[in-house]
């Protein structure tokens, strides 16, 4: 069949599909409700067939380029992602995320060791040798910590600012750290190891110093409430980064490319879960932890319950319910 005849035969189909695709770009909802939307998959495949014919018969670019453009556009529409389903967010947070954390328990355990061991070691060390605090922090930093947790300060844990301001600050700062911890894991895991260790030293150092100089009361009362979410989220983000780095180093039985894509898929979900946890942590930190007038039993009681909740959620969340035999 000569080219002109081919165009005369099928040109109308192409024009129809093209105008429908353009209408879809301009008014997506209305166009999708048209009856022609039902015919789109069949029509698209017919045009694909025409392109293959045109290629095979050596038709000129005038026809093949036009069909190629039409097909690329159609491909984008036919294989578009489904609209987001919001109930999946809840399912993910309640079940999918804890399951994923448990599936990666080796990396999570490694991240926890990398974070908690330096933190506890420094904390204990500073009780025995308080003067060592000056090797970890400059005098200006120490003065700032002391000001934040001064027992005479009416608002504990901060030198100034309102609840909302601090909420914004905690979100930006903590989530930024968590995301960077995850991303830096791609550098053979070195970045994640460094961030986890450095944060362990920092947090252990502050806790140790304040406890040693007798400001421990306000400090522990302040951090107790939000620590279950904040510290666990940091460990999870670090674990996700370690997973990424270890996959790059030892992809196992897969090729490096696909293995990395799979690890990135897991890592992004873990990072999003950590993001949700840090939002909760920032909320608690800004609106609950900073209330100075709360009685200690209530404060530490709530902290204990929250620790149990977080660990229980990660341990049991998303397990298949066992029905009676």
């Amino acid at each position: 069949m000569k080219q002109e005849r081919f165009v005369a035969l099928h040109g109308k189909t192409w024009d129809r599909l093209q105008s429908w695709l353009h209408a879809l770009d301009r008014q997506p909802r209305r166009t999708l409700r048209q009856e022609q939307a039902l015919d789109f998959p069949a029509e698209y495949r017919r045009v694909c067939h025409h392109l293959a014919l045109a290629r095979g018969r050596g038709y000129s670019h005038e026809v093949t380029d036009r069909l190629q453009q039409l097909v690329q556009h159609g491909h984008r529409v036919l294989y578009r992602p489904p609209p987001p389903r919001w109930h999946r967010v809840a399912t993910f947070l309640l079940a999918g995320f804890p399951r994923l954390v448990r599936a990666q328990w080796r990396c999570m355990a490694l991240a926890a060791v990398l974070f908690y061991v330096p933190a506890l070691a420094i904390l204990l060390l500073l009780q025995l040798r308080p003067e060592l605090a000056h090797t970890f922090f400059s005098s200006a930093q120490l003065a700032q910590f002391e000001k934040m947790y001064d027992p005479a300060n009416p608002h504990i844990g901060r030198s100034s600012g309102t609840d909302l301001q601090m909420f914004g600050f905690y979100v930006m700062n903590n989530v930024g750290i968590a995301f960077r911890t995850f991303a830096s894991g791609l550098v053979f895991g070195v970045g994640a190891v460094y961030v986890l260790g450095a944060n362990g030293v920092l947090i252990g150092g502050i806790a140790g110093h304040l406890t040693a100089i007798g400001y421990g009361g306000p400090f522990w009362r302040f951090v107790a409430g939000h620590s279950p979410f904040e510290l666990t989220a940091l460990v999870i983000a670090g674990g996700a980064g370690l997973h990424l780095g270890l996959t790059l180093l030892a992809p196992g039985r897969r090729r490096r490319g696909p293995a990395l894509v799979a690890a990135g898929w897991v890592g992004a979900q873990l990072a999003l879960g950590a993001f949700a946890m840090l939002l909760v942590a920032a909320f608690i930190e800004a609106y609950w932890s900073s209330i100075a007038s709360l009685p200690d039993p209530l404060r530490f009681g709530v902290a204990g319950v929250l620790w149990l909740l977080v660990l229980g959620w990660l341990w049991r969340g998303g397990r298949a319910v066992r029905h009676g035999a």
Binding site: R76, Y79, T162, D163, F179, V187, G264, A271
Partner: protein
């Protein structure tokens, strides 16, 4: 051959052609996005300043969203394009040419933190130069690539002319070369058209303008015009 076109065979048995976008247009799109976000942030600060110190908190939440969520939300909802990418005619797609979805977009935008290292996109630049599809590290891990979304101009129409049958049978490649010549002749100078047409004097028996007309007439016959 060094080519940035990635051909992907689809389930329909045809191949898609994805033209990978290099570092330069992507850097331009990024700068454009950066400016856009900067201006948006400054404008948003004006109403936020009414709230005083609390406005600072909202401003930081906004800054956080602009830093981390902007690209993901734009890519997922605007068909793989942030405003900067749209202006430059770029689009993020999966490696198989389908539109980018949530998780891959999250991965490629979180891993920006690595690509942006030493200075401004040092790692990312090296990665785009080394990778055959010009992907930065974030794209490699996410399984995505950035392509040129604007289509190349399709070939021009062959000028209509009374058809002349070819005096001898040409192979398919030779026919295709003739048709290509007739389609592109409009983009060439007359001198160049004549120079090319003169190569085929053995076929046409003519030179210069007459040879061009003869070739176009042959092509009209090849295309099946009356």
């Amino acid at each position: 051959m060094i080519d940035t076109v990635r051909e992907i065979e689809t389930a329909e048995g045809i191949s898609l052609r994805l033209r990978a976008a290099g570092a330069l247009p992507r850097a331009q799109a990024w700068v454009l996005d950066l400016l856009l976000r900067g201006v948006f942030f400054i404008v948003a600060m004006i109403p936020l300043s009414i709230f005083g110190v609390a406005g600072n908190g909202l401003a930081m939440l906004l800054l956080f969203a602009l830093m981390w969520a902007y690209a993901v939300i734009c890519e997922v909802w605007m068909d793989g394009q942030t405003p900067g990418k749209r202006a430059l005619g770029l689009r993020v797609v999966h490696a198989d040419g389908t539109p980018v979805t949530w998780l891959p977009s999250v991965v490629r935008n979180l891993l920006r933190a690595v690509d942006i290292l030493p200075g401004v996109y040092g790692v990312g630049l090296v990665s785009t130069l080394v990778d055959p599809h010009a992907r930065r590290l974030g794209d490699i891990v996410a399984g995505t690539m950035v392509i040129h979304a604007r289509e190349l101009p399709a070939g021009q129409q062959v000028p209509a002319m009374p058809a002349l049958p070819l005096p001898l049978v040409l192979s398919a490649d030779e026919q295709a070369a003739l048709v290509d010549y007739a389609e592109r002749a409009g983009q060439l100078t007359v001198q160049r058209q004549e120079e090319l047409a003169n190569l085929l004097t053995p076929l046409t028996g003519l030179r210069d303008t007459a040879a061009i007309r003869q070739l176009v007439a042959y092509v009209n016959w090849l295309l099946g015009r009356a």
